[in-house]
Symmetry: C2
Subunit: 319 residues, 2 copies
């Protein structure tokens, strides 16, 4: 990566693939003919909820941690997250004997806090602005910041999903992925457009947390004052500088959907596919079923099920 | 198959594989390092809950239906089942334009009855003995009986799971599968012992429905007066003549476990693996964690997750 503003290349993603390949799962792609039938397409789910720690996040984190030198590793790392990034950073750092500190909202699900601690992370619960607290601790303790999404190395790591999709379904026509901060779709779209520019890449945001959509309209990263969605994995209150640049270049459409649409999709996936898609993951099916995407019949569509981390107590109320 | 009492051969299973291969999913095998760690082994799940209709059952059914001649297909088929076989028969028969009738207990889960009807099956709800009613209707209407498990063609179809396991994990040391009537384990063990006789095959039954265990002790198929388990998929009240013969020949051990052990395993799979294993499927992990299986550390173990059909309302009470 020569320049921070430069888009990542396919080679960056291949390099990431080499780094993660013996540490993480190569997740399966499975077809659901019933749910595909509802949308008139051939539908495949990329099961990132089977990834280590229950989401796609460790792909990027491992790729980033790999670039730290021994001195940096010795210092330890810090980040901010309400859930999936927290767990993946704590776990991946432990794998490399790196200490990790994660600033989490004091409202974070108990199971996610417990899992983060269980993986060896130090959790700092915070009311209010996570980023301010995170940067303060980082400076005070001289830690290395691992951004949850706005980093070319994180983006390249998430891009490995795109390589796997093309390997498993070479004639894919469309890929749908959720957008929180945008790291996932920035990576996937970079991989796929490099090899198959004709494949449509569709992003999905909840109505109540559409920072990327607003950033695209504004032409610069927008920070939301509040977010309101059941999809905590898509509730990042801002788009990144790097992620916005990739989305502008590679993503064909960003649709927004309601929480009700997400819940319906979540139940459908649960009942028909026997997997626990967290709301952020189910949002991709919700987008497909929303009628907002223009898609020829019988197209081959991949919905990325980005994670499956839902509290059991919460799940009972959602289903 | 020359003789009804003969054990099925590896070639019978390969033939079944050819018949089902473009109609059914080749299900993934995924590792769970966390759950494996609990048992001190390398643990893989064979995800038959991703199979069409949500369980392994259509493998055998398709293989059986394929042997019917046009006249038999014209007559239509009949069977008895509380759930997974019902759904798979209704679905597979519809695929071949065959009419199906399924005798189900009047206590069967509403979702399973609805799914069976949705797949095109005619459901006859019955209080009491399913088999008597099934045989009466079969004679009256001159239908073709498709036994849920005790048929060499059904067994050969289920055996295709064994071929897939060996292909995906050639150095597997042990396979654990549930036993209802015994069709699943009869097939899998036949496939695996033919190619890798050193691989241990372990069967699992609930304490409250241990017909196979009792049949092994008695040396002949035992009929239970009642069964009592949350694992409806393992609650067949009798072992089959054919299935018992295969289990005697190929299965190394049959362990019985409690419903409480099944529930703990079900929750673990749900939380850690993000899949909805029905109780009959979770029983395999329960057996692994029960301490009743003698297994060297770091062995490669496959637990077959046979199905994922649980009512959402029921699931909420189980989790």
């Amino acid at each position: 990566m020569k320049d921070k503003s430069e888009l990542i290349s396919y080679d960056d993603i291949v390099a990431a693939q080499q780094i993660i390949k013996n540490r993480l799962h190569r997740t399966p792609l499975v077809e659901s003919s019933y749910l595909g039938g509802l949308a008139g397409v051939k539908l495949f789910f990329k099961l990132e909820l089977f990834q280590k720690t229950g989401s796609f996040k460790p792909r990027g984190v491992f790729n980033k941690l790999h670039t730290l030198d021994d001195k940096e590793k010795q210092k330890g790392v810090i980040s901010l997250s309400a859930g999936n990034h927290a767990q993946s950073l704590a776990w991946a750092a432990s794998q490399s004997n790196i200490k990790s500190t994660i600033v989490m909202p004091d409202t974070a699900a108990e199971s996610k806090v417990k899992a983060t601690i269980g993986y060896g992370g130090k959790v700092v619960p915070v009311k209010g602005n996570l980023l301010d607290t995170c940067l303060t601790i980082q400076k005070e303790q001289d830690l290395i910041m691992i951004h949850p999404f706005d980093d070319p190395l994180i983006i390249a790591g998430q891009g490995t999903i795109g390589i796997e999709i093309i390997e498993d379904l070479p004639d894919v026509n469309m890929v749908i992925a959720g957008i929180g901060g945008g790291g996932l779709i920035a990576g996937i779209s970079s991989a796929i457009k490099a090899k198959k520019p004709v494949v449509k890449i569709i992003g999905v945001e909840p109505d109540g947390a559409s920072a990327m959509n607003q950033s695209l309209k504004r032409g610069e990263p927008v920070h939301l004052k509040t977010t309101n969605t059941i999809a905590d994995g898509l509730a990042a209150p801002f788009a990144g500088h790097h992620t916005l640049a990739h989305v502008k270049e590679h993503v064909d459409q960003v649709v927004t959907i309601s929480d009700d649409e997400i819940l319906i999709a979540m139940r459908l996936i649960f009942e028909r596919c026997k997997v626990t898609a967290e709301p952020a993951a189910a949002a991709t099916l919700a987008a497909l079923l929303s009628g907002k995407i223009n898609i020829p019949k019988k197209s081959k569509v991949v919905c990325v099920l980005s994670g499956g981390n839902v509290d059991m107590a919460r799940l009972k109320t959602l289903l």
